[in-house]
Symmetry: C2
Subunit: 392 residues, 2 copies
């Protein structure tokens, strides 16, 4: 049995570079960038007025200023600055050469002779300087970046109307267990519906993977072997749920061994979801999740999520846990293992307890907003204490 | 000028019920549920073994127990429980009638005569009781719920292999300004590329809306009127960026008035992004965002995001801000307005300062993980203080 941290270090050290494809900018949200993108312009591209007002020389501010003309956004000044003069200027317009301040319209008065008088003691500069944000040839985004909305804006600003991204990776999903029937079936008295398959499919979809739900495998070696072999050949990652433990009917480890999948770990000291398997055959990876839906969901979030991101080419993974205060006193009986508890958030943005009966209680997750960590050895936490939480 | 809270109350009170469509379960992630879903089964559907071990009567635990048979997941006991007897049982299997405890395999010993001896003082019950999570006819998910991965699992458990969801709403996006050129063009010395259009398009896409980027409108009344009129007719929501303030070239308010768009607000006491417009013509809504990309991004997150969710049919909006500690001392000069600062998170999940030059500095947002609130009147915050933050 290894710690969660050790399991994460093993999973997240996987590297894979999928093939690339070139897509228009409006189709790359949430995809992984496959090229380094450099700026072909300075940003701002010129000294830019930050406010509506008058551009002039600071040293002229005590004089009444002659208005030489107007500079709108998208245009340039038509004359040169003279002493004791200024330009009417709009937000976003290029500040004419020689001007070193833009005084705000609200701080000026128009005199009867048409000249402009500055009515304040001093002014902020109100100029965004050429290249102060980005210089030509600066690296804007590097290959391996998950593209968020703001990055789409950055790509547009650098003239990238088409973008090279990694192709989606394929994830095969197999739920195991004789007790399972597909969602469209009515279960008989000893059966339940397969909820893990569709849930894990959706979890993989949410990460941009091409998720292939391969249905249910019974607790029998031959069919289990056939379907796992197929998935190993066709997919970058195979995710199994159930049958992964060490019970008499837990055939997954036996079959995986037979299929020459090398075990990287088989048990993680975390609750819920101790029996989590990770292994590899060539470049094809296998993750075995526990059969209980909450265990499966928690382990996916703690381990599989970033594994999929790494396989998909993402290399800007960062800490995703956030420090949040508890709004209640928390207690647990057995403090041996690290635990991740599903919980809600209250109106104040603090963690609030959830009506949760245990790792079979899938419906509780519909109300959960976070998973928070209770470290190994910690049996109680006080209201107001800060915990590490993953946002769901 | 109204407060952010007032603006949110106005925007988020909009209601709209889009048409519905029926989709297979594996196509409804991040869609809005359009029907109330009730359970057709109890969950668990039977008293379920929570561990691998032996099912028996608590009152028999001091005796050596005869093993009557085995109950695997998906099967039922073939005989009835007798006094001083038990069943070998697997996790997930139905507990046979009469048994009121499942003792863990690890806590038992097999005697030479084949009987089972319980080796501990006492045992947890280790049974998940019929219906303890969900009863037949319980409401599982209500119309208006944003479907997350765990909800897909819940729908599967209730036998929903197809689901009624709301059709995506249409959002038209127009960037205004004579200084703008499209991303594929090389800007001349007074121009910049249109980054707001693609960024807002991606922001709307990330909420599941059908985003239509209508390109750039110049600062001229006639073309502006034509394109806004078209978007008002074709889309549920039109988002404009730039030209929304009160400068000489800010024609958006003039044109909107001419097109009989009723103003709901035109200025919000928040930084960055004070000049934010919200209005309505019939059932067609208009949001005017500031031209600076960071202002535009912040206002989208503070106001437009939940407006789109409401229009899309979502009715389970909840507080999205989270209480997080600052990892540094924060100061600002002008504390008049409420401010939302882009920031990073450190390894400990606390807010970390970002290299950020102001509302034109789009590239800074590629490194931002949160926006955090500095309330009106607050000029400084100390390291360790808890602030309200939106996760990006």
């Amino acid at each position: 049995m290894i710690t969660l941290k050790e399991a994460q270090d093993i999973c997240w050290s996987e590297e894979y570079r999928p093939n690339t494809e070139i897509l228009p900018l409006n189709e790359v949200l949430n995809r992984i960038l496959a090229e380094d993108v450099y700026s072909d312009v300075n940003m701002p591209p010129f000294h830019k007025a930050a406010v509506d007002g008058f551009a002039c020389r600071k040293s002229d501010l005590q004089h009444d200023l002659l208005v030489l003309g107007e500079v709108a956004a998208g245009s340039l000044a038509e004359t040169k600055l003279q002493p004791k003069s200024c330009f009417r200027i709009m937000t976003g317009a290029p500040v004419p050469d020689g001007c070193d301040v833009v005084i705000m319209l609200e701080h000026t008065q128009v005199l009867p002779n048409g000249r402009i008088r500055f009515m304040k003691e001093k002014s902020s500069q109100n100029i965004c300087f050429l290249g102060e944000d980005v210089l030509v040839s600066d690296l804007l985004l590097s290959a391996g970046t998950l593209l968020r909305s703001q990055d789409i804006g950055v790509l547009a600003s650098a003239g990238k109307s088409t973008v090279s991204v990694y192709q989606s990776i394929r994830v095969g999903i197999i739920a195991t267990g004789n007790e399972l029937v597909e969602p469209h079936c009515l279960p008989n008295p000893s059966q339940i519906r397969n909820s893990n398959g569709p849930m894990i499919e959706a979890l993989a979809q949410s990460l941009g993977a091409k998720a292939i739900n391969l249905g249910i495998a019974p607790d029998q070696e031959a069919p289990l072997e056939t379907i796992i072999e197929r998935s190993l050949r066709e997919n970058h990652l195979t995710i199994l749920s159930g049958g992964v433990s060490v019970g008499d009917y837990d055939l997954v480890p036996i079959v995986l061994k037979k299929l020459q999948v090398k075990t990287h770990f088989h048990s993680v000291a975390v609750q819920p979801g101790k029996p989590s398997f990770f292994g590899k055959r060539g470049s094809s990876l296998v993750f075995g999740l526990p059969g209980n839906p909450v265990s499966s969901f928690v382990q996916f979030n703690l381990l599989v999520k970033n594994l999929i991101r790494k396989l998909a080419g993402q290399n800007n993974l960062s800490n995703e846990t956030i420090r949040i205060p508890l709004s209640y006193d928390y207690q647990r009986r057995n403090a041996a293992r690290e635990k991740w508890e599903p919980a809600q958030l209250n109106e104040n943005g603090e963690i609030k307890a959830l009506n949760y009966h245990g790792s079979g209680h899938l419906h509780a997750l519909s109300f959960a907003k976070v998973l928070f960590q209770v470290p190994a050895g910690v049996a109680s936490l006080r209201k107001g204490e800060l915990v590490q939480a993953l946002i769901l």
